[in-house]
Structures are given as C-alpha cells and as structure tokens.
Point group: C2
Amino acid sequence: MDQVKYLLDEDRLPTAWYNIAADLPTPPPPPLHPVTGQPIGPADLAPLFPMALIMQEVSTERHIEIPEEVRSIYRQWRPTPLYRARRLERALDTPAKIYYKYEGVSPAGSHKPNTAVPQAYYNKQEGVKRIITETGAGQWGSSLALAGSWFGIEIVVYMVKVSYQQKPYRRALMENVGATVIASPSPTTNAGRAILASTPDSTGSLGIAISEAVEVAAQDPDARYALGSVLNHVLLHQTVIGLEAQAQLEMAGDYPDIIVGATGGGSNFAGITFPFIGAKLRGGRDVRIVAVEPAACPSLTKGRYAYDYGDTARMAPMVKMHTLGHTFVPSGFHAGGLRYHGMSPMVSHLVQLGHIEPTAMQQLETFAAGVQFSRAEGIVPAPEANHAVAGAIREALRCKETGESRTILFNLCGHGHFDMQAYMDYHAGRLHDFEYSDEEVAMALAGLPSVGA
Amino acid sequence: MDQVKYLLDEDRLPTAWYNIAADLPTPPPPPLHPVTGQPIGPADLAPLFPMALIMQEVSTERHIEIPEEVRSIYRQWRPTPLYRARRLERALDTPAKIYYKYEGVSPAGSHKPNTAVPQAYYNKQEGVKRIITETGAGQWGSSLALAGSWFGIEIVVYMVKVSYQQKPYRRALMENVGATVIASPSPTTNAGRAILASTPDSTGSLGIAISEAVEVAAQDPDARYALGSVLNHVLLHQTVIGLEAQAQLEMAGDYPDIIVGATGGGSNFAGITFPFIGAKLRGGRDVRIVAVEPAACPSLTKGRYAYDYGDTARMAPMVKMHTLGHTFVPSGFHAGGLRYHGMSPMVSHLVQLGHIEPTAMQQLETFAAGVQFSRAEGIVPAPEANHAVAGAIREALRCKETGESRTILFNLCGHGHFDMQAYMDYHAGRLHDFEYSDEEVAMALAGLPSVGA
C-alpha cells in the first residue's frame, strides 16, 4: 500500500486566516519599548511595519480575511497536499497512522511564502518601495525576494554570514530574482560595525542580522522591515497550513491525537497547530501538541520565560518569550532556520498555559529520521523539517511499543534540495550532537533585561 | 492578473500510456545488432531489459495500460499542474497565451520518475535484483534511485565524471536513498578501463557511461540495464505528461497552436508532444511542434540521420537517428541532461516525416529566458528546461511583432534547485555561447558505421 494523498479543491483554499488571540483565556503579556520599557502601541511600530500588519499583530478578531490578491498567488501552489505516510508506517512497523502536510511544493520550497506574499502585498498597498529583512538559512529571504519580484518591491536581505558563505545557492536564488543580499554582520550599519569592531571574525546570528535590518528600515521613510517568524501576524498567515489540514483530515475521516512541529521562531509550528489548539480552546477535541526544538538552540527547554530583546543590538521591542538571551550565538548545527535565540511570544504563552509539550532533539537523531523518511516517502526534508519528522517517528515507535494506534500529524515545512551538503556531512560522520551545560545557559541568560522580570 | 492553475482530479490520472507507433504512416527503421548488423528481436534484448519493457519497445498498440501499482505511486505528485503564465505574458507584453506543464513537483524535481517508476516496477515483476544505469546531470539517476528504494531493488549508477565532480548534491540525493554512484569512465569495466588507458583525464560522456552500465548489466544474470530517455518504452511512459495536458487545456477551453519542447534524448519532448502529434496523425487539429536543442550538442540541426551506436564502446544496438557520432563528446555547457550524441529514433523519424521543426539555441539566450521566467513565475527552471522556456518566449515575441494571438504550450520538465551554480556563473558572466564548425561536425561523423547508410 502506497502513500495516500488528500488534495483540496482550489475553491476550498481558506478565505480567512485563523487568529488564536480570539480564543485565549488570557492574553500574552504586551511588547515593551526597548528604551522606555513601557508597553508599546501601534504608532511605535509604524516606522517598521505597514499599518495593516500592525493591526493584525494586535487583533483579537478570530478570522482575518485573506485579500483576493494574496489568494490568487497562494493558488499557484495551495492548497498543498496532505499525505498519509503509509510507506513510512510500514517501514516503522507501527500501528500509528502518520499524516504529513507538505509545504515544500511552494516555489521557494518551504512554508515561508505563506507570509512573504501577504507581507509584500500590505507593504505595496501602503506605498512602501523597499523591504529590509534578515535571513538565516535563506528560506525566508528567498521567499520574500520572490514576493518582492511579484509586487515590484525592492528587497534587501541581511544574511547571517555563516549561511552566506556556506549556502551560496540560497543566496543565488535570491539574487536571481533581483534581491540584494548582504552578509551580516556588515559594515553597512552601526549595529554591524559595532559587532565587527569587537568580533572581527563574527559569523553572525539572526539577532545581529535583525538589528542591521531594523536599523536600515527605520532610517528610510520609503522602506519597512519584515520578519519571517516570531510575530503574531506572521504566525497568523501560516495558519492556512492547519486550516487546510483540518479539511483534509476530515476528507480522510480522521482527527489527530498528536501533532508534532519543529520550532525555531515558531511560525511553521503555529501554522500547523494553532487551528487545532483553537478548536480545543473552544471546547473541541483534545490533541497533544509536541514542539521539537534542536538541542543546540534549546529556547523552550533550557531558556527562561522572560522579557528579552528580539535582536542583539536591542533596537527591536522587548517581548516576553522563552529565550536564551539576545546575545546568544548558537553552536554550529545544520538547521539554520531554527537558530533564533528566542521563541514566538504567542507560542511561549501557550507553552505557559500548558497546551504545548516542548522537547529538544539531537541533530543525529533528526538526520537519521530524515534519511529514513527520504527512502520511504521520496522527499528529502530540510534539516529544520527533520525535527518534526524525528518527533513523529518517536511517537510512532512509542505506539509500536504500547500497541496503541494513534493518529499523528506533522508539518513537512520544506524540502532539503539546498541542504544536501548537510546530508553528505551526516553520511560521512562529520555531524555530531551538542548539549549546552547549565553554566553556559546561565551565562547566556545573564544579559537579560530586568524589565518585567 | 496572476497565474492560473489547471488541476486535474486524481481520478483523471491517465489509465494508459499513449503509443505513437500505432498512428505512424510508416514505422521507424528497426534497430540493428551491434556486431552482425542484422535487425534484432526481443530475444536479443533479454539480457538487458525485462520482457515487459521489450514488448512495449516494439508494441504498436495505441494504448498500453498503466499498472495500478505504478498509478498508485504516480498519484504522489500526479496529475501535475498546468499553468497559464499570465505574469510572463505580461512581462513580455505579448498577445500570445502561454501555458506550461510543470513536472518539477515530482519528488526528484523532474519528469524522470514518470519512467523510473514503471521501469523499476517491471524489473521487480520479473525478479530482477539490481538495475545498472548511467546518468548525466543526475535527474535520471536520482529518479531511478528513488524508484529502486520503493521497490526494493539495488541501483548502481554510472555518473558522467564531470557531473560527478561538479554536481555532488545530485550524487548525494542518490546516495541518500541507498544507490551506489560510480564516476564514469571508471576502472570497474572493460569499457571504462579502455577509455582511461587512452584518455586518462577523460571527463566522460553519456555514451561512455552507457557502455559501462550495459557491460555490467549484461554480465550479471540478476541485473538488468535501464535507460532514462531515447528508447520507445521510455518515451511511452512520459506521455502521461501530454495526456494530462490535453485534458487540462480542455478545462481551459483552449488548444495549442505551437508546442515547444527541449530535446536531449527526446523523452520530455515526446512526453508533452506525442499525444498532440498523434491526434493530428489521426486527423485532428494541426499544431506546430518545435524542438529546441542546445547549439553545443546539435544532433537534430547539425547531425546526420543515420544508423549509429547508442554508446561509445559499440555494445548497444545500432539505431537510425540524428547523431553527431557515438564518439562525440559535447563541449562544456550547463544542460547536462541534453548532452547525448544522438536523438531518440522515434523523434528522429517524426522529424524526417516533417512533423517536428528542430531549432538550436545558444546557452546565453536560454539562461536569459530562465531568469526572466523565474522572476515572473517564481520557479527557477533547470538549464534543460530553459531551452523550452526560451523557445516559448521566442514564439511569444514573434506574436508580439505580428500582433497575432497564438496559444503556446511547453513542458517545464524540472526545477533548477540543483543547478544554482550555473545561474551564478551566468550572472557572473562566466557562461558563453558555443558553435561547432562544419569541419568539427564532419570529423565527429566520420566514425559512423557504414551499415544501413
């Protein structure tokens, strides 16, 4: 028995995103101004984001309409397929049913265009000429580069230097559609120059790249800043994934007992889980939600739930989140999209409310899972997605032990075509596991601001 | 106005492949034994292929049923989308309508799994334990590697050495699913050793790699050989592309005036065009068929229509085809999948019958087209596919000149995620055009066999 594919008709592409803020028993703590430490309002964010996105960021409406212009572009690759992974089930010899939603069919090969397209759209609506952003592994940057080329907006990407050097093909993908890509830290900003002065051979971090992008955007009245994860409006846009999955599982006559997601900033995780968590918050069926993060960047499992800056240079607002500290530079590991020092405040809040079980996984287990998945399902997952695959395999093997049949759903957020070097390193035995000691984590957390602690 | 996508319901996945041999006014000349020069029969091919594929090779039945086991795997990514390229039309400011079928959604990122899956299936049915093949750029090898992992067949791939060295990620894709990849020419075969003795620094060619694979397969009773293009049964399997496109254009209420395809061995070209040529041969509507080949490997436009060996070491049968000679080693250019010295005998025959217009295109024009296409449509085409894109753009610009609206269809046979180095080279000005002189072609053709000339 091979895979089963569940495809939604195009007319069932969601017409609205789902906003979990509408269903929370208590709201998450507000963001604070990086200098005054006071709660910030929409006006404070206006230099960075178009007003439509700021209003989405603070909205408590349950459904936010997807503009027809955005749906028209979504239709290029959406609704994405939901697969029943029968070949993987057979390979694992498990009584569990494993479903995965596949976001690698997008033109950028990941879930990131789900938010890149509406972000570019709203910026265009408000007359923005260029968008400045950062990227780690390059999935977000290449998605925004594409969206920019469609809407006629100039895109400037600060790319974490280690990725800029190690992932020239992701960079080429951005440059090929006309984006400007700058290795971060760079001499083009105060934030970058300060880092280069103190650490000339810095390989960069998402926190540093965010500082550079925010600095440039704030100084240019024709420019705005864009972020590919973490923020409420970004998570909101990703809920198309879970909304489609709900309809597809209904087609399959099934409902998940367990949903597994990989967490970096939280957007792909929120995309697949929030519609299900929302249904549960409104009195619907219970579902276990498992968040898998890399042991080498363990914000949920080893970080502190505290106010912290979103960026290294402390220009972005402070938000309450699980964080390893804004100066934290994660050790080298291959899931570049999961290397953020913090976690989406909304995901953090739901962890605090007890709706999400965080777990950390070692790199070697995630790659072993990715290889097993490739052989069974034929799709090579991105290293980020391997965390979800590995989490789902763990749950399926637990079912095998107990003999229970459970329905497991996960999001395969992207393919690994740009990450084959990582697989080559894995097969050659050049990858290794990594664990931070409590002392190292304590040191990284020492720089947390005292505000709101 | 954005792209329009035409999706077929899964229950409209073709149930049979289309065999153009049924509709030919005259059959193509038969293949000849490489030693005796006599027409060969099914028994001669038995050491190389399973009998089911040999029977397809010589069949004149119009419809050949697709086994349910194959359809079940096809459904993972088929039916593939047909797009109306409205953004590209707008960028070109053309009155033409441009449609493209997109085969890059397959797990290997190209059209090659359409034939890799049935080839692995029929081999499995006949108890074959391992399949030996060759690959140029790696699209075929990675597709067969996947199919092998699904059917539990060992796959050994002789990869043209220049690609083995320059495309480590395609190789990693094959090895990741358990295939063995050997750089060709290699010391593992007589054919390889002979080449290495005379040309120690040979970078290989498809003709040499075929010789090595055929030699190994012929000597191992548990093994068979597989080819990813050229042969009738391979082209047959690819007709799912054109059959789906016919149904999708019907949905769109349209019919192509012009179909453009890229030609290397001929399989993706046949896949999109044969169902339409067949309809015309049976008295249906006329359609111009344009075959675009690289100027650096111009078998259709500069080669001779003559009997030639399919491989360099003259172990494969002789077939009548447009050829540059079996010892021809094409100059370095980036569309590795289009570097075969000959052309499918069936495509060659249809050229002779006047149903296909061949044209050669320079590398720089194809990359310029690929970049323009990327920016408009969001998909980076493989360098092979760029030839079809460039051909379609030429036709669309001709419509702009004449003011005529024509409906153009082409096959976007694969994405370029593994070919970003080529795009980087293009943007950096490191690629160049290439043309063979008549003398060079005459020299290459001097080694043609005299049989059947």
